[in-house]
């Protein structure tokens, strides 16, 4: 052993190197205040290690980036922890870097002969910021996509070289495969390599020049090993503990309070979708001040605000060692740094406040005070703007959280070759809701006063002219239309032009002589034909009785029902509200099976009545199907209502268990569904209004 060491030492001088490393002199004794540099080096080490392992599972392309990160986060053993550590260490690094810079400046450690090392430190800081920026995009989720898009658009504003730089960064004029691979090459290749090099120089120079002792005569000098190193290591552990705390923090957040399903580790948003806006797009929190800063500048000053001023700050930082030669200069540096921090904290605070706290509306002054009135008007306009900003962000982020949860649920089935976006775009619960909102909610409501709706299925039309379609085709819905009190309400025919005083209403209100028990059977029989996925099965004898009632008690006088009755005077009851029936109705309500007898102007539009001439249709066939499946609640339901990210082992066990009794796996998870899905516009605004007043 000793021989081997001697052999090695002869050839490398290893003993001297170790000795030099460990027996660095610490003037004035070991102190806690010297630990910050070491914690930074430690966090960089953590990033290299975790980054490498993430690399082994990450696939950089716009069709696989989100998908592989999903796989790391939700399927791979320890993936959530690895990703969480990498994510939160990046943020810890920013905080530690700020502390480090402050300490160096306050202690005047940038002064001769340490100027160059200070500059190296600033270069390191820029590299770390570059790593943050490039890393933010890699999961290719909505927040990374839109957050980074803004940053590259800013780069485009740089005079002269801007658009070239942007195209080189993005790999073309649009975001795509090469954007991911280029950012990845920067994030995992160039920037870390630079970082290692510059950090090496930084530490070498630090060792050469020695520690800037705060108080060298406080105690006798000691060596770095073991006294100072022990403190450094304890500090690193403390930093790690904080990081780990943030990784597992999600385990305690309750779905009821946050509106989101708890996640362990770092958040993964819904996959990047260039076609869908993300109104809650924000950069990472440590860039929020720059985001906020831009708000204060008009269109002519954007280049100043986004490029010139930030660059000036960096220039001033670089000049600090020179300015600091004079006593006043040093004071200026310290004051400047604190002012900068204050500004950053203020801007960050404002940004957070604007997003998370509703502004308070200014109180209206009494009528006679003319001056106060016009002031109030101004204040009110300002308030309205801020309020708009707040609700837009809140809505956007709630919807995004809902969608990201839904994406994870859908991904359980395996992701098609077209990527997660394809799955999400073909999901009735997600896309059907969007289409319903656009094409149907102008007339139809999708909510019921007496039902506690799962959030995200509510669309309140301000001026409904059609029925409330929430759970259309369910037993309850059908039973309701056969109720003289209910059929006249706006939930059924009350608000419709064609039917409010039509024959069905007249019949149900005045002429129907079917007793309640039989109506129950009729509703069950029709609901059985509609066959919604959420239907509770009932006995065949009830259904048979219901069918007999339909035929014998006069329904078929107007409606066709199987072989009985005729088309032409009322919609076909054969397979009423079934998937195909609905598709046919939405496609063309003017068909004789439906509302041919209603005047054109009072009938629902035909959404897909020219199958042979696609350009003539309002909606594509797929879109009609998505809307229909949305109405029928016919969508993928998670095999395991993944309340939290379970440890992957447990997830696998759970999956096996679920497979065993797949039949029973129709969880009522809709009731604990997260937030806000779709578009809780009205609801959210309403609440917020109440808060604001």
């Amino acid at each position: 052993m000793m021989g081997l060491l001697n052999w090695l030492d002869d050839r490398t001088g290893i003993r001297g190197i170790i000795h030099e490393t460990l027996y660095e002199r610490v003037p004035g004794g070991a102190r806690w205040r010297y630990v910050w540099g070491s914690t930074l080096a430690f966090t960089f080490f953590v990033q290299l290690v975790t980054g490498f392992f993430l690399w082994t599972a990450y696939s950089p392309s716009s069709l696989t980036a989100w998908e592989s990160v999903y796989y790391i986060q939700h399927e791979m053993t320890g993936g959530w922890l690895l990703r969480g550590i990498h994510h939160f260490t990046a943020q810890a690094m920013i905080v530690l870097m700020v502390l480090h810079v402050f300490q160096v400046v306050i202690d005047g450690a940038y002064k001769a002969p340490r100027e160059i090392n200070f500059w190296l430190g600033l270069v390191l800081m820029l590299i770390v910021l570059g790593l943050s920026l490039t890393g933010y995009l890699l999961p290719w989720d909505q927040k990374g996509y839109y957050g980074t898009k803004v940053a590259t658009e800013i780069a485009q504003n740089t005079p002269l070289v801007g658009s070239t730089v942007q195209q080189l960064l993005v790999g073309g004029s649009d975001y795509g495969h090469q954007t991911v691979s280029r950012f990845f090459a920067l994030h995992a290749g160039l920037l870390p390599a630079l970082m290692i090099g510059v950090l090496g120089l930084h530490i070498a120079l630090f060792r050469r020049q020695g520690l800037t002792a705060k108080d060298p005569d406080r105690k006798p000098d000691v060596y770095f090993w073991p006294d100072q190193l022990l403190r450094d290591v304890v500090a690193c552990l403390a930093v790690l503990a904080v990081i780990l705390f943030f990784c597992v923090r999600g385990a305690w957040s309750e779905p009821e309070t946050t509106g989101v399903v708890a996640t362990l580790g770092a958040e993964l948003g819904s996959p990047a979708d260039p076609a869908v806006d993300y109104s809650a797009a924000r950069p990472e929190w440590y860039f929020l001040f720059l985001f906020q800063f831009l708000h204060y500048f008009g269109k002519d000053q954007q280049v100043m605000a986004s490029i010139v001023y930030p660059s000036l700050v960096i220039v001033i930082l670089f000049l600090m060692p020179i300015v600091g030669r004079w006593k006043l200069g040093h004071r200026f540096n310290v004051v400047f740094l604190f002012a900068l921090l204050l500004g950053v904290v203020y801007l960050t605070g404002r940004a957070i406040q604007a997003d998370y706290y509703p502004p308070i509306a200014p109180a209206k002054p009494s009528q006679e005070d003319g001056v106060a009135m016009s002031d109030w008007k101004k204040e009110y306009d300002q308030w309205e703007k801020e309020y708009q900003h707040y609700t837009t962000f809140q809505k956007g982020s709630k919807y995004e959280k809902w969608k990201s949860h839904r994406a994870v649920e859908l991904a359980e089935q395996g992701i098609p070759a077209g990527g997660m976006l394809e799955l999400l775009r073909n999901d009735p619960k997600t896309q059907g809701a969007v289409l319903f909102k656009t094409y149907c909610a102008g007339c139809h409501t999708h909510t019921a006063a007496d039902v506690d709706l799962p959030p995200g299925h509510e669309f309140t039309s301000a001026t409904p002219t059609g029925a409330n379609l929430y759970r259309f085709g369910s037993y309850e819905w059908i039973r309701g239309i056969l109720d003289p009190q209910k059929i006249v309400t706006s939930d059924y025919f009350g608000a419709t032009e064609a039917h409010a005083e039509g024959e069905m209403v007249g019949y149900v209100v005045d002429d129907m002589e079917i007793d309640d028990a039989d109506l129950v059977n009729v509703a069950h029989a029709l609901a059985a034909d509609a066959d919604r996925p959420d239907r509770e099965p009932v006995g065949e004898d009830l259904l048979e009785a219901g069918r007999t009632t339909i035929v014998e008690e006069g329904c078929v006088d107007c409606h066709q029902y199987g072989d009985e009755g005729d088309l032409g005077s009322a919609p076909d009851l054969t397979d009423y509200a079934s998937r195909q029936w609905l598709i046919d109705l939405v496609s063309n309500p003017a068909h004789e099976r439906f509302y041919e007898y209603v005047d054109d102007g009072r009938r629902m539009p035909a959404f897909h009545d020219s199958p042979d001439d696609p350009a003539q249709n309002i909606l594509r066939q797929e879109d009609v199907e998505l809307i229909v499946d949305f109405l029928r609640g016919d969508w993928y339901r998670s095999k395991h209502g993944r309340a939290a990210t379970p440890p992957p082992a447990a997830a696998a066990d759970a999956e096996a268990a679920q497979r065993a009794d797949a039949a029973a796996a129709q969880p009522a998870d809709d009731d604990v569904e997260p937030a806000a899905a779709g578009k809780p516009e009205e609801a959210t605004t309403g609440e917020a209004d109440a808060e604001a007043q």
Binding site: F53, S68, Y71, Y223, L237, P416, A417
Partner: protein, 197 residues
């Protein structure tokens, strides 16, 4: 402070008594190891995930079910082997590809209702073997292994065993036509006997 600044190399010289603080050193090493091992541990868990997954996650494993390859009519009646793709669902980590080619088999009719199936992967190192009609032999283009019509390994071939046979069933399809179904499996290469992957 100035003298520290100008010390440079000289500071390395131990002019202060070396404290033999065994305990502090030990604690430092232990805590340092913990701090370092946490990120490494999380990384290794992810790195070794495929090992853990292999037996548990049966989704992508071969072996299981019979796959319909073709109809019996499509197989040459002359007893010469023919290549067919194996079409089944494939799962590649997060991606699911329904009905895609996942491998290749040789089918060879040996009787009116009898078909033999070979895995087209060479048992040596997994290259796809060719069939040479003029020699009526299988040959591997990579390392020149040769196999007889019935799959038997020929003399000096580097392959450690004959071509791998697969279970075959002749089933009657919906249209009443005879179909060839094969239990598609992959085997470890380089072994003297057939071992499922």
């Amino acid at each position: 402070m100035n003298d520290q600044e100008s010390t440079g190399e000289a500071a390395a010289e131990p002019d202060i008594p070396q404290r033999r603080n065994f305990f502090a050193g030990l604690v430092t090493i232990i805590l340092g190891a913990i701090a370092g091992l946490v990120p490494i541990g999380a990384g290794l868990a992810v790195l070794f995930d495929p090992l853990r997954r292999r037996n548990q996650d049966g989704r992508n494993q071969s072996g299981g079910d019979f796959v319909r390859i073709t109809t019996l009519k499509m197989v040459n009646a002359d007893g010469l082997p023919q290549r067919f793709p194996v079409i089944k669902d494939r799962v590649d980590h997060f991606s699911r590809f329904p009905e895609m080619p996942v491998g290749m088999v040789y089918l060879r009719q040996t009787g009116p209702d009898e078909v033999v199936a070979f895995q087209a992967d060479c048992p040596h190192l997994g290259c796809k073997v060719d069939f040479l009609p003029q020699r009526e032999q299988f040959s591997c283009p990579c390392h020149a292994s040769y196999f007889e019509l019935d799959g038997t390994r020929i003399g000096a071939s580097p392959s450690p065993r004959s071509l791998d046979t697969l279970d075959v069933e002749i089933r009657t399809g919906d249209a009443g036509e005879a179909e060839v179904w094969v239990r598609f499996e992959e085997f470890k290469t380089g072994e003297a006997t057939k071992i499922s992957k």
